[in-house]
Symmetry: C2
Subunit: 246 residues, 2 copies
Amino acid sequence: MNPLTSKLEHFVRLSSEDKAALDRLASEQMRGFGPHTDIVHEGQPPKVLRLMLSGWACRYKLLEDGRRQIVGLFLPGDFCDLSIFILREMDHSIAAITDVTLAQISAETFNEIAFAQPRIMYALWWESLVREAIQREWIVSLGRRDTDERIAHLFCELFIRMRSVGLTSGCSIDLPMTQSELSDIVGVSAVHVNRTLQALRASGLVILKGKTLTIPNLNALMDAAQFNTNYLHLDHEGAHLDATNG
Amino acid sequence: MNPLTSKLEHFVRLSSEDKAALDRLASEQMRGFGPHTDIVHEGQPPKVLRLMLSGWACRYKLLEDGRRQIVGLFLPGDFCDLSIFILREMDHSIAAITDVTLAQISAETFNEIAFAQPRIMYALWWESLVREAIQREWIVSLGRRDTDERIAHLFCELFIRMRSVGLTSGCSIDLPMTQSELSDIVGVSAVHVNRTLQALRASGLVILKGKTLTIPNLNALMDAAQFNTNYLHLDHEGAHLDATNG
DNA sequence: CGGTATATTGATTACAGTCAATAAAAGTGG
DNA sequence: CCACTTTTATTGACTGTAATCAATATACCG
């Protein structure tokens, strides 16, 4: 299934017309990007709406001396920029982490669908509120969690986000980042990430082999990270907007 | 002038009807909160839309062992929660820092105004995108800036945000936070905040007296913080939506 | 004016950064 | 498929920044 549809159904039950509309969004002009290439640069005007279909990408900001911070991750089913109609220029850049395919949706198509299908508009609003909540949680991690907790917390989040779009296999997900990229998320040096990962492995909470992350006991990892799922709001919160037997 | 109106006019020129509608929002049921009291708790359902009229407030999250991280600041003219229609429960708490007065806006009033005045709807959308951008910038600070830079950057942001709602006097703003609250924003210990503030004072970049922050040379402080205003998007970006000579 | 909250200081400890070297893995071309 | 190159991961030694603990000073409040 379309990963966007999977995800939005955690919020609200969609009618078959809703789903058809989402499939139409996901089949708009497709475009591919290779790993480690920029999709949009800071300073550019946001022109199209981008929807991730496969692969991983990230938002990041650079400081003058080369320090880099990743401020968000895009997984399949995520929108990259809902600011097209509003903001003049990007205040950050977006880069592919792996091979990425995305749908580039024009303002017209988007407007057409959003206005014809109000449930979809609500679902997209929900998506942007969740994105905001994720950013808040990242702020908490960077400000007040130590490195073990940061990484454990991130792994919980990624596992659950991947599961919500149907991309887990058992207790495992693909984790296609280098340790250096991970360090730009959790705000420590790459060397320290390496050591922390070793500690996490030694504790048995995670298994990392190649580009695969396995979490043998999700509850144990969630405990270690003091992870509370509430901020992902995956609990069918828009039930009052459900399609009447779509 | 209504601080909300001041702020939104950085995005788009409003008609007199728009302004009247905003004044109506700002005069909805008023409510006061004393310093250090909670306005909403994590876990509660968001029931009304809150608009800050005066004072300072913050969003925060607590960890089990008492560590606290402030994940956002509310200044006059800011909305506290635009999630009323969507999310079932708050994933964080909101507390007053100073004496706070806010308008509590019902869903009905809000809908009425938002639908009658599309420019206002766009302006509120802009506000929420800016809030998201501010969160990203906080992530960058916590992840990749050292403590001097974090505080300098925060002070620049606060000065400019206060200026956008007409609350500066010359080079000064009210800064009604304790060092301990500041430490919960920048993610270090209160002792370390104290030492860093002394260094900033010694460098002449800021003057802190009582609860007043004075920035004698904003450009110098912005340089020190590598502060780029772009993320606040105050540059009349919605010009194409302007009222035609309202 | 006393009492509480906030700010400041010093001494010590712990966590994380840096630098540099080596090992392992992944990608490339013949 | 192998040899070679490049990237990524791992390790150790050393340094530096910030946390913690505890004491004292100052400011604020009724």
